[in-house]
């Protein structure tokens, strides 16, 4: 492009070339396979994690998500394939030379060391002086909102506190990528939800420098925290996308069923998925073109919402969620056995692709 009497610009210039490729993905896996004897844990996996994002690997146990994490960390060598961190190949690099740190599921705190020594461990093996170690460790503990426990042993802390120490121990080293292996799995529900928000806040604070790669089997956790989610099943990647994409446009029945509740229906020879909350129960006497007629088979009053199971004329069992805005438990429970019509907007019906059928064939 020529501007005025000036020069032709081919490429952006004037910026010093970075030591590593800043546009490269934080993590890139290419054709990674890992098996344990006859058991294939991950099969031909290719995936990219963008710098600074909160990336979640979601799947049931045995789906390969933890193995993938361990391959990125360097604990497990990949049988085949390539692992890159910020454009640098690390496929054969031992864990202690990779710019990543891990928060373990069991926290893996050193029981014979104080909290301070635990957090400062990474700095200590790097040769950082004692005073600076203590300062940075204290700063990291303050960041995870756990100041003043430096002198205690891990055994003297509660589960939630240990979790925070494990997090501080990892982030104090300023890794490029932080790997978290179901870090909230051992906490009770309330604490877990609290920590989800805190983790997300910490990630936002650090996202300029640190990319979070998070493993969980909890779909709510994945939806709450992630920028993007990768859904795993049987050692394969089923779908990668934002929480919205995964929830609203699942590519196949597995993703639709694993993340949230879904109704998979056959329409015009294609399989479509509709979320229960997108379906409207028409008022008695109300009708709409294309409405589905059915009979209410089950009603479950869940407080803020009511869950209906409607059997359609075609014999499909359709789950419908309705908010209890102007109704009562007494009234909804009387709706069992009633004839109803169901309606949903065409754009809320997501067509599932043919991958599932190919896999079954």
């Amino acid at each position: 492009m020529v501007t005025g009497g000036g020069t032709t610009i081919d490429a952006p210039s004037g910026r010093p070339s970075p030591p590593e490729d800043e546009t490269a993905p934080a993590v890139r896996l290419t054709g990674v396979r890992k098996s344990y004897g006859p058991v294939v844990a991950i099969e031909d996996l290719s995936m990219e994690v963008r710098p600074g994002e909160f990336f979640t690997m979601l799947g049931p146990s045995g789906s390969g998500k933890t193995t993938t994490l361990r391959v990125i960390a360097g604990f497990e060598p990949a049988d085949t394939g390539r692992v890159e961190l910020h454009g640098l190949e690390v496929t054969g690099t031992p864990p202690y030379e990779r710019p990543v740190n891990t928060v373990f599921q069991d926290y893996a705190l050193f029981p014979h060391m104080s909290v301070l020594d635990n957090v400062a461990y990474g700095l200590r093996v790097k040769g950082v002086g004692r005073r600076e170690r203590a300062e940075q460790a204290a700063a990291a503990l303050a960041m995870v909102r756990l100041p003043g426990v430096e002198g205690r042993r891990p055994a003297q802390l509660s589960g939630g506190q240990r979790q925070r120490v494990a997090l501080a121990r990892a982030i104090v080293n300023r890794p490029r990528v932080l790997l978290l292996d179901e870090p909230l799995g051992a906490l009770d529900l309330k604490l877990r939800q609290e920590m989800q928000l805190e983790l997300k806040a910490i990630q936002r604070e650090l996202s300029e420098r640190i990319t979070f790669v998070y493993v969980t089997h909890d779909q709510d956790e994945a939806l709450t925290m992630s920028d993007r989610i990768a859904v795993f099943s049987n050692g394969r990647l089923e779908q990668v996308g934002t929480p919205g994409e995964i929830y609203e446009r699942p590519v196949n029945e597995f993703v639709a069923g694993f993340v949230g509740t879904s109704n998979v229906l056959e329409r015009d020879g294609r399989r479509v998925m509709v979320r229960p909350e997108k379906i409207r129960l028409l008022a008695p006497g109300e009708d709409a073109p294309g409405a589905v007629r059915g009979v209410v088979r089950e009603v479950a009053y869940l407080g803020s919402v009511t869950r209906y199971v409607v059997e359609s004329e075609r014999g499909e069992k359709i789950v419908v969620l309705r908010q209890n805005l102007d109704t009562s438990a007494e009234r909804v429970l009387q709706e069992r056995g009633r004839e109803v019509r169901l309606e949903w907007r065409p754009e809320d019906a997501s067509v599932l692709d043919h991958k599932q059928q190919e896999a079954e064939a």
């Binding site: 604990f75 202690y96 373990f104 893996a108 705190l109 029981p111 461990y121 205690r152 042993r153 003297q156």
Partner: protein, 275 residues
Amino acid sequence: MTGSSRASRIALGVFTALLMLFLFFPIVIIMLYAFNPSNIQSWPLPGLSTRWFSPTWHNAEMRHALWLSVRAGLFSTAIAMVLGSMAAFAVHRFRFFGREAISFLIVLPIALPGIITGMALNSFISFGGVEFGLLTIIVGHATFCIVTVYNNVLARLRRTPSSLVEASMDLGADGLTTFRYVTLPMIATALVAGGLLAFALSFDEIVVTTFTAGAQSTLPIWIFGNIRLGQQLPQVNVVVLFVILLSLIPVALAQRLTRDTGVLRQAAAPAAAVP
């Protein structure tokens, strides 16, 4: 209800007391005999005296036997600590051909009757033309000392989550640094406890020693020989008194060390921030 449970508690208490009495009464008696002024063992003691302590201490034969036992114990314990912990690491960390067989063979000497180990070693050493003495005693003792170290260290390794080593590597420590800062401190108490037990085993061993010592006498052999001859019984009693007192130390230490996984003094809460 409470009456019957109280009665059974009393019965259990009495039974336990009798059992303890049966176990420890003879030991108390033998300890008292060390203070017997007479050289004839008779009951009740004619008085209490320490007149045999000095001649025992100056008995050259006894001293030689004691020194031999100490050296045999220290060397076989050292060998056991090195080989036993190495074997424990290998069996714990790697999957290799013959792993189960090796594990079984290491533990076997403790189950095998000492007389068989002794006979086998004796014929093997004679066959090899090696002179019987300190070296052969150490080799004989090491066979069963390795087991105690091996078992202790292996048990500790199995109780130590593998994620600790991974966490250390993840935080930038290579294999050697990880061993120094994480693995060794984790197994240290088990290693020492195993070593103390090994020394205790070696120090009072008599069956295997009989077959491997040749003309040498370790302390247990010296005691055994003198009880049979009966001439130096008062001195034997004094030696026994001190052996009992000394052997309490390692056993108590070993128990204390293996009681938990190194997190001692939980109650001694928030210590100063920086050590």
